[in-house]
Structures are given as structure tokens and as C-alpha cells.
Amino acid sequence: MIYRIPARIIRRQLGQFIGVITIVAIASFSHSLLTIGVNALEEGYAAFASDYKQETAHFITVHGAPEAKLERKYKVEIEERQVLEVEWEDKALRVFTPTQHVNLACALAGKSVPSRGEILLDPLFAKANGYALGDSFRIGNRTYKVAGFIYMPDYIYITRYDQDIINNPLEFGIGLMDKRDMVWHSTEPYRYYVIGGPLSDVRGFKEDLEACGLVSFVEKKENPRITTTEMKLAGTKAVITPITLMMTLISSFLTFTVLGRLINSLRVEIGTLMALGYRRGEIARTFLYIPLFIWIVGASLGTAMGFLLTKPFVQLYVEYFNIPLVAPVFPTRQLLEAFFLPGIFIFSGSLFALRELFAKEPLALLRGSEGNSGSSAAYFLQLDGLSFPKRVMLRHGLSRMWRNLVLVVGVACSTFLLIYGFTAERTLQGMVNQTFSSTFNYDYMYVLSSNQRGKKFPSAEGFNLRTLYDSNGRNVVLYGIQKGSNMVSLRNLDGLAPDLSGIALAKPLAAKLKAAKGDVIELNDKLNDKPIRFRVSDVVELRIGNYAFIDLEEFNRVFELPRGSYRGLFSPTELRIDESLVFMRQDKAYIASTFENMMAPVKQSLAVISAISLMLALSIANVLSTLSLNENRRTIGILKIFGFRDGEIVFMTLGFERICFYIGMLLGIPLFNRLVNLLMASVAEQSDFALEFEADPVGILWAFGVLAVLYHVVQRLLRNRVYRMSGAELLKERTD
């Protein structure tokens, strides 16, 4: 018969149960949505790389390579590929011949292997330039039919040059074309080889290729078209995972506490059943239906919602990362985690509470209604100088410190996430502005194909550029700039012009390399792997990028270049340089806007996280306040009969929680400042970008404002509930 009790209790206190179920649903929802999203992408990428035979390395030789011999010797697959670079107006398309064993094309739509007269395009280029399936694509005087949109596992991050930081699908893309169609074009296709399968002896392989005139050999780990995506994936995961885990743990921990209190609030009923002769096992089985119900409903709702919303979420990432989902990824592990994780906390909380109750004599449970739920130490506090309501409020709150601590921690974490959400976009924007407007004053940057001397363009300023790497393989982009450069305005941490006699590191790079002014660091030249020792002469206030700066003449000396020579030009205006002399050209405005776009998925994730954290904060406040009201019904009844006003009663019973809520909000700021840069440091470890966040006053105000307004609404609703309570009725309840 007693099996009916749980359902009746749930029905009687439906509002409170809805609150608890919401928290459980939030735990499951945030876990499923974010982890499924990130993991689907990670698994999607792994499946794409493996199913479509991503290369191990690629190489170019002057003469044909002995493929069969090398394949046998190194137990790898080698395949020749022809490449045609087609240029028209300001656009360029790199067209490959299809391969059969390595770097297979994956069709998003249409075909994955072109027939004669057909061309397959990468989806980003096609979208940016408005090509649809069946459209005509003209190269020179020949027309091809667009027969498919394809992803290539070796060209995930589609940049024209290895040095390009940002991809630009409007101006550059890749395609596939039948080998027989390549001969029609005036530009001669060139040949290179791709290697599939694990290659253990790279040095031996390279030595064997020397006889064929090895021009270049690029391993997968050095291929920016692959590694950039992998770094971005890892960076996104590094941001999302700890936050998701934090949210899941907060909400799960909260359910642990709430369920404990909830079971505890049923102690008179449990005591009665014990007194009647029910065994502990029978009582436990009955009352565990309550957490079971909360868990099943909350976790099912949360997991299902998370799973349903994963699709658009993943789609957003897929477009951003340019990774095809080659097979439907069913996230069994994440779904099970999202479903079971809150369950563990719910049941442990309930069992813990039941164990505590069962340790008592039935009489103690029958007697204990209110007042014994908190710490008795609070009742011995000397609060004589305070008014009666303040005394009651403080005693009431201090006697429930554990619960209020949960409230403080929960609200602080929610505030942190909200500030993050409100600040991230502006911080990123600010960093982009600082970097690309205040520091880099040029609008165009040209990297030339050979070293230059003398001043050929009066408005431009010469510079040199070299990519280096440290012992952990982290890239450092070193600029040799002119003394008193007008194009790059650097400031050190004291706001002064930096000392460029050694290398001056951008602030996040210095942190990443753990280097300070005066240190000597060793970096390797990416061109020839030669190690070079540099003295760190300064650290500059620059928040984006792995940039380092050195005086141009010092640069030339270190790299044994002629005095006064330069390889690049910074210019405030577009320069008319013979295209054949330009190796790479960058438009700063475009870089800036693309950088912002690059952060889009992170921003979207942050928006979702902010929304969830807001719901979480309010659910915490609502559930704990409701619990407080329910536990203090008798006291409220007595206070009402005494003639206290509803506002005073709310102040006495919930006033301390309000203080805790605001303390939690305030603690959110140092928590943000402390945690966000730890998070960003882990992102920086994974990517070539190092970001630095600081709690921004506008973001803080927004976060506080939204939280305070909604909390006020919750309090108002609770006050109305107190208003509706009848003192006499509340006292009579004791006899039920």
C-alpha cells in the first residue's frame, strides 16, 4: 500500500519537484548537448581521416619517384597526384586529379570522382562563389559541369599557401578534375606524391628520395591544412569540456543536496512507517521511487533535448571546421553519461539521507519536524544588538550553512558562465581591434618571392618574416621590423616602446613559452630546422597570435641576410607590384573579419552555456527557497498568527539566501578572472592563438542585471506563496 506514497508526495509538492527535475534536466541537457556536439565532431573528423585515407605525408621530387619500390620497402601506399593551379580575376582554384588509395574525396553532394568534362568543388568555395550542382564552371576557354561538392582529408583548412593564417573561400578553393582534362590548360600541371599508412623511418625515406631530387617533404603534423583544423578542434574541446563538466557537476551536486533535504523533509512519514513496523528495506524501496522518478523524468528530458538540439549544433561546427560527417555518429557513451551521471548524484544523495534517517530511532524522526535540520551552533550566537527579524534571519541562515554554501557556489559558477557569455564576444572584438587597428597600422601586407633592397615604394615599409618553432613544436612567427616602425606600433607592458635588440614576445606567447624579459630561449628555424638562441629583450602588449618581434637589422644578422634587405612590405595602401614578385598578399581588414568568424562557433557555444547557466542559477535559487519555505511552514504559520507581515516573514526565512545569492554573484567576478584565463591557457596550448580575458564591466553589469531581475521575479513568486499561506492551516498540518 505504501508504494502509493511517492506519487502522492510528488503530486502534492509538484512545484518543488518540477524545480528539481529542471535542475536534473539541465545537468543532462548541458552534458549531452555540448559533449555530444564536440565529440561528434571529433569522432567525425577521426572517421573522415581514417575512412578517406588521410595522408601521412606528401612530397615533391624533380624526377619521378620509384613508387613501387618505396611502397615495398616502407610498407606504405604512395600515389601520384597532378595539380593544376587555375587563376582568374582575383580568384584561384587548385585542381587535383582523383586518387584511389590516399586522400580520397568525400562527396557532400553529387559525385566523388569526376568524369571527363566534370569538375568537383569544395563546398566552401562553391557556396562563397554561388555555384550549384549542374552549373557550368569555366576555366580558360573550356567549360566544365559542376558534378559534386567534395571534402578532401588533406585540405580541410583550405588555404592557398602554407603560410596563410586565414582561409578565404571567396578567393581560393580546391577541386577535382579528370586527369585527361588537365592537358587542355595553358598552365602546366605539376606532380606530387601522397603517402598513406604509417611511415616509421622518415629520415630513411627522405634519403631514398634524394636521388630523385627531393624538393619538399611535408609530414601530416607539419601540414597546416590538417593541423590547423586539429588545433581548432582541440581548442574548442578545451573550452567546452571543462565548462560542461562544471555545469554538470554543479547541477548534479545540487540535486545531491536537494534530494537529501527532500528525503529528510519526509522524516515524520518515514518515522511513522518505522514505528508501525515497516522494515528499512521496505521504506527505502518505497521512498527511492521519488529520486527514481526525478532522475528518469529529468535525465530523459534533458538527454533527449540535448540530443535533439545536437544536430543543429553539430551542423554549425561542421560548417565551421569544414569536416564532413561521413557516418552518422550515435553518441552512445555521451548519452549514457548524460543520463546516468545525474542519477549517481541523485541516488547517492537520497541513500545518504535515508541512511542518516535510519540511523535514528523512530521516535526521533516522529518528533523532529522543524528546527533540527540545521547546525545548533548558530542558535548560540550572540545577536542581541540586532532587531528580531535580523536575528531570526541570521540564525536561520547560519544554521543551514551547508545548503547556503551550495547556493553560493552554484550562483558563483552560474555568474562566471554568464559573465563569460556576455564578455567573450566583446573581449574577442576588443582583442581583434587592439591587434589589427592599434598595433598593426598597415592595411596590406605583401610577402615577396625574393629578398629586396632599397626603397621602391615610398609609402611602404620593409620587414622580414620567419616561422620558428620551439622544442614542443609550437610555432612562433618572428617579424623583423624597422626601428621606429610606423606600421607596427608596439608597446611593452609598461606602455613604452619595446626593446627590440633581442626578441620581444607577444604577451600570450611569452606565457606559453614561459619566458620573461632577460631569458634566453632556443627556437628552430622552420626552413632548415637550425636551432637559434635568442635573448628575450621585452614582452609586448599584444593579445592575439604567436608573434615575436626583432629589429630588422638584427633579424638580417641572425639569419645571415644582407644588411638592409627585406622580404615583405607593410603598406597603408594597395601597392602595384608585379604579381610574379608577390609570394603572398594579405588584406588586414579581411584577416580581422575572418578571425572574428573563426570564433563564431565558440561564441554560439558560449551563448548556449550562458542560457543554461542562467536557468541553473534560477533553478538553484527557486528550489532551495521553496525547500526552505516548505521546511518552515510551521514557523511561518506561527509568525503569521503573531502578525508579522509577509515581507518580514520572507525576510526572516529567505533573507539569508538572498544575501548568499548576491555573495555568489560577487564571487563570480574573481572566479571568472581566475578560471577564464586558466581555460584560455589550455586553449592556447592547443592552438596558435593565445587569448587573454578580463572581466569586462559591461559584461559584469549585464550578467548581474539579468540575474538580479530574474531572481527578484522568483522571490516575488515566493512572497506570493507566503501571502497565500494561512497561519491556522499551516499549524494544523502538524497533525496530519
Binding site: 505504501i2 502522492r8 512519514e269 518505522m274 515497516y278 530511532e361 521516535l363 498540518e733 496530519d736
Partner: protein, 232 residues
């Protein structure tokens, strides 16, 4: 002897103060007796009945019920004792608020093999017309009648009543006393009732007076009056 209490002590400690709620209580009761324990507030009546009922523990002494010393039982043993031997009627009824009157009785009937029919017992206490009502829909007297039905339905050897009329008006209190008398006379159940209402003592076979945790008087009454004759 059906119930034998010997040297029973119970000491409560609050802060630095210790209070002996029971300070060596001794008495014995034969099976089928109607026993009334009288005493002022703080005399230890409730503590005594709680220990005999197995919902509280003694610090010293024996409580032997049908040859079994329940003071020596562990938590499991006490549960079985409460389940099989005792019916409890509380001053504030302690009905399970989420079960109807009928379900409250049924919940106890489930516990014992020799239980009576829940419907019959509810009829006996005059509550069959309100059997589907929840406790909050019943008056105090009605709730206490359901509480008696709940205690009686499992046909306990010992019915313990803690101030069963304490929260009731005169008419309802008389009805409840009538019920307890009926249970005692018709079912042969040993009833131990605590009260501070001396008038009720006249319907008991044995009256025990407690003061400051000790038995100060025991009166055996061979001619108890019927409950209808009890007035106060």
C-alpha cells in the same frame, strides 16, 4: 506475566544538563488487561510507552513482552517486534498524509498475517463512510479513529495509546475511549493507555501513577466502569 517492566531507566542529556525521564520503573501486567498510566507532564509517561512500543531505547532495565526482553533487541529485532506485536496510537495521530483513511489502515494490515479486514475495522471505528478521505480532510476525532483502526487492524498483542484523547473534544474523546474498550473486551488485546486525565483511570484494570520517572502508585481495579460512564 504478559508485560514486565523492571528497573527501567532513560536519561536525556541536553547540553550539560541530564534529565532522568525514567528512573527505575517496575511493574507487570497480565494479558488482556486495560492499563492506564497516569501522571503529570514530565513524569515520563510518553517515554515509558515509547520504550515499551520499541520506538525508543532504555538506558537500563528490562521490558519483557511475552517472555522476550525487547530492551536487548537490536534495530532489526525491534522492527520485527513493532511489526508483529505492537499497535501504536499517537497523540497527534501521525497518519501518513499521502494515504487515504482506508489506505492508512491497509498499510498496517499488510504487515501482519493475522490482520483483520481493513474495511471491517474502519466500520468498527465508524469511519467507513469517510474511508477515501485524506487525513487533511478529516477532523481531529476522525483522524484519531482512523489511527486506532490502523493500530488495531493488524491484531496486535499490545495496543499502546499515547494520550489518544489529548487533542480531542469531549464527544470525540468518549468515542475513542469506547473504541479502545471494545478492542480490549472483544478482541482481548492488552491496552496500555497513558493520559493525565484521571477520570479515564476508572475504566482500567490496572492504574499506574508515575511521578518524576518513578512509579508512585499501582492500583488494581477488579471492577472497571464502562467507557460511557466515564465523565470529566
Amino acid at each position: 506475566m504478559f508485560l514486565e517492566v523492571a528497573g527501567l531507566k532513560r536519561i536525556y542529556t541536553v547540553g550539560k544538563t541530564t534529565v532522568a525521564a525514567l528512573d527505575g520503573v517496575d511493574f507487570g501486567v497480565e494479558k488482556g488487561a486495560f492499563v492506564v498510566v497516569l501522571g503529570p507532564s514530565g513524569s515520563g509517561k510518553s517515554t515509558l510507552i515509547n520504550i515499551i512500543g520499541g520506538i525508543d531505547r532504555a538506558d537500563a532495565g528490562r521490558v519483557v513482552v511475552e517472555g522476550q526482553d525487547i530492551a536487548r533487541l537490536d534495530a532489526k529485532g525491534l522492527t520485527e517486534y513493532r511489526r508483529n506485536s505492537v499497535g501504536f496510537v499517537f497523540q497527534f495521530y501521525n497518519l501518513v498524509s499521502s494515504l487515504t483513511a482506508y489506505e492508512n489502515v491497509l498499510a498496517t494490515a499488510y504487515l501482519s498475517r493475522g490482520s483483520f479486514d481493513a474495511g471491517v475495522i474502519l466500520d468498527l471505528v465508524g469511519m467507513s463512510d469517510k474511508k477515501n478521505k485524506f487525513p487533511f480532510e478529516l477532523s481531529g476525532g476522525e483522524q484519531q479513529r482512523v489511527a486506532i483502526a490502523r493500530a488495531v487492524v493488524k491484531n496486535p498483542k499490545l495496543l499502546l495509546c499515547d494520550e489518544p484523547t489529548g487533542a480531542l473534544d469531549y464527544d470525540n474523546a468518549k468515542k475513542v475511549l469506547g473504541l479502545l474498550e471494545k478492542v480490549n473486551r472483544e478482541l482481548g488485546t492488552t491496552v496500555l493507555l497513558i493520559t493525565h486525565n484521571t477520570a479515564i483511570a476508572r475504566m482500567a484494570h490496572v492504574v499506574i501513577r508515575l511521578r518524576s520517572g518513578r512509579v508512585v502508585e499501582r492500583v488494581d481495579n477488579p471492577t472497571p466502569i464502562a467507557s460511557e460512564q466515564v465523565v470529566w
